[in-house]
């Protein structure tokens, strides 16, 4: 669905995107990861056609990026919300649908469908400016999908949202491949990406460091991890700090993430600790962490 060859973008002396060759397969959910300033947003804007490449080329479904034919295939939600706040939610969706060439009756039907799906139906008649951040994010997602595109390009779709707002967006994104959509999504909240992306590209200083399935990236760069939920995650975290097989202990999204090179031994030691300190275990599962892989990759880069 997306193909780039030596895609390059300079802003004066600054090289924002440095000759990336990227392939995103049709029907996949592809994560795009990198630290701030890595060039993710610039690369996405090149794909949408908002920026012209300094060198190289990109195609969307075989059509040159930026062409009308390519734009018919894609929907885009930018990182910085840019909605028309004076319009109502429904009015905005209809306006964007009409801009995309849909006729009145189709756009109304589609807008209704999306407003219901994204839990915005009750607020559809309100001005967009009165929406909460989460509602505006969902509306931005809806406008990207209004003309039923084959590809969604989403730049940090959960930025600035509280956990429940993030969860709503992620739940929605999980359903998209079932609707036959390809999703290309950037995020720096890596724990989220792990939940719904199949393949991932990691970008650093405008260059692709690795692009592969998420499992392969985790295996290549990261260790194993246990995701643990207990009655007292903070106390468990303190206890684990003294165990040599446990490292990078973090509480993230209401669970304790513990990196290790020996998951079996960690599990055994942890169960012993919980019994010893009378702490109840709610759940424990293995979780490869992209965060860890990402950190390793960045560390390699710095070295």
């Amino acid at each position: 669905m997306i193909e780039t060859t030596n895609l390059t973008k300079h802003f004066g002396e600054t090289v924002a995107v440095d000759g990336i060759d990227l392939t995103v397969e049709e029907g996949s959910v592809h994560g795009f990861v990198g630290p701030n300033g890595a060039g993710k947003t610039t690369a996405m804007q090149l794909l949408v056609g908002l920026l012209s490449p300094t060198d190289g080329e990109a195609t969307i479904g075989g059509e040159p990026a930026g062409s009308k034919a390519a734009k018919e295939l894609l929907g885009y939600s930018p990182q910085e919300l840019a909605l028309r706040e004076s319009m109502t939610g429904r009015g905005y969706l209809e306006y964007m649908g009409r801009a995309a060439g849909m006729d009145k009756s189709d756009v109304r039907e589609r807008a209704d469908e999306l407003l219901s799906w994204l839990d915005l139906k009750e607020a559809a008649g309100r001005r967009v400016g009165s929406y909460s951040g989460g509602m505006q994010r969902r509306l931005s997602l809806a406008q990207a999908m209004i003309h039923d595109p084959e590809l969604l390009i989403l730049d940090e779709p959960t930025t600035g949202l509280d956990p429940s707002g993030r969860q709503k967006i992620m739940d929605a994104l999980r359903e998209l491949p079932e609707q036959g959509m390809t999703v290309f999504v950037s995020s720096h909240v890596l724990a989220e990406l792990e939940q719904y992306v199949g393949t991932v590209t990691i970008l650093r200083d405008g260059e692709i460091v690795i692009t592969d399935t998420i499992d392969a990236v985790q295996q290549a760069y990261g260790g194993q991890a246990l995701a643990v939920e207990t009655d007292d995650d903070e106390r468990v975290g303190e206890l684990l700090a003294d165990i040599e097989v446990a490292r990078n202990i973090e509480i993230e999204d209401g669970r304790l993430l513990v990196m290790t090179d020996d998951a079996d031994q960690l599990r055994e030691r942890l169960q012993g600790l919980l019994v010893e300190h009378d702490i109840s275990l709610r759940s424990m599962s293995e979780a490869g962490t992209l965060q860890e892989a990402f950190a390793d990759i960045l560390e390699e880069g710095e070295q």
Binding site: Q45, L50, L51, Y76, R84, M96
Partner: protein
């Protein structure tokens, strides 16, 4: 299809109550004050004068009021609309989202431009009607005289307003695309009426032949607009009497008032007032037209190729 959508979107954005109120209150307010001042300057009992005199006086007053104020002030509205309808969308990123849809880049830009022109011309038309009525009321002229004066020169004045609005909107569109900021767009576009008023006063300064010697008429926006005004009325078949020409010249310098000679048949009303002739009117029309076309074409060209990050 998309162009019509963008035009109606721009018209809707331009007619928000806050914007309209901020423009119309001072516009109509000053129109009323100017009409009162003009109507009370020796024309208080105009209704008792012969119909021809009433018509002549109303035309003179209306020409001055419309040329100096009614058509010129709406250019400030156009400047603000260029800032809010184009530069603001570039600043906020709403154009970015719109351009991700399968639309040609020129469509939202030209749609915004046309929307601004429509609102600018409608606003001017409202002022032209209010101004005419205000003069009718303050001079006490008869309704018949209103029909034979203001209404006869209204089409030409409206056509002139259309040209001026297109020029200001084109410059505003270009500035919005080039600067991408509301403030610079509004201030830059507002330079057109500022230069207009500035040169209006330059001609009143005791500069003698300096105006001609230094070719000040070349950048004199007021003079060129006057030429366009005269040319459009001429093209529409409006015959200005010498007294009307004198009134036009007072606010534009288009005619050579010194060249007036008295027609004894018309008891004191000048029989001939030649053009000042620094620049032939058709040249001013071409210059204004070219500037407008070049500004709009430049804006479309640049917008079609620029990065919209």
């Amino acid at each position: 299809m998309s162009l019509r959508l963008f035009v109606s979107g721009a018209v809707r954005d331009s007619t928000r109550p806050k914007i309209l109120a901020a423009f119309l209150v001072p516009y109509f307010g000053v129109t009323g004050l100017l009409a009162t001042a003009l109507g009370n300057t020796g024309h208080e009992n105009l209704g008792s004068a012969p119909l021809f005199t009433q018509e002549q006086v109303l035309v003179e007053l209306y020409v001055q009021l419309s040329f100096v104020w009614l058509v010129t002030f709406p250019m400030v509205l156009v400047a603000v609309l260029a800032a809010t309808n184009i530069a603001s969308h570039l600043e906020s990123g709403t154009f970015r989202v719109l351009l991700s849809k399968p639309v040609s880049r020129w469509e939202p830009l030209v749609g915004a431009f046309l929307g601004i022109v429509i609102v600018g011309v409608l606003a001017t038309l409202s002022g032209l009607l209010v101004g005419g009525i205000a003069l009718y009321v303050t001079t006490g002229a008869s309704a018949l005289a209103l029909g034979g004066s203001v209404l006869t020169i209204l089409p030409g004045t409206l056509a002139y307003a259309l040209v001026v609005t297109i020029l200001a909107a084109a410059i505003g569109t270009l500035l919005a695309v080039v600067t991408g900021t509301r403030l610079q767009t509004a201030l830059g576009t507002a330079l057109v009426p500022v230069l207009f008023f500035g040169f209006l006063f330059v001609r009143f300064l005791p500069v003698g032949d300096l105006y001609a010697d230094l070719f000040l008429y070349v950048p004199d926006v007021n003079y060129h607009f006057g030429n366009v005004y005269a040319a459009i009325h001429g093209a529409l078949g409006t015959e200005f009497t010498p007294a009307t020409r004198e009134a036009v010249s007072t606010v534009s310098g288009v005619y050579d008032i010194g060249g007036v000679w008295t027609d004894p048949l018309l008891s004191g009303i000048g029989g001939s007032t030649p053009l000042a002739g620094y620049v032939p009117p058709f040249v001013s029309v071409i210059v204004v037209g070219l500037v407008a076309v070049a500004a709009l074409a430049g804006a479309v060209y640049r917008f079609g190729r620029m990065d919209v990050p």
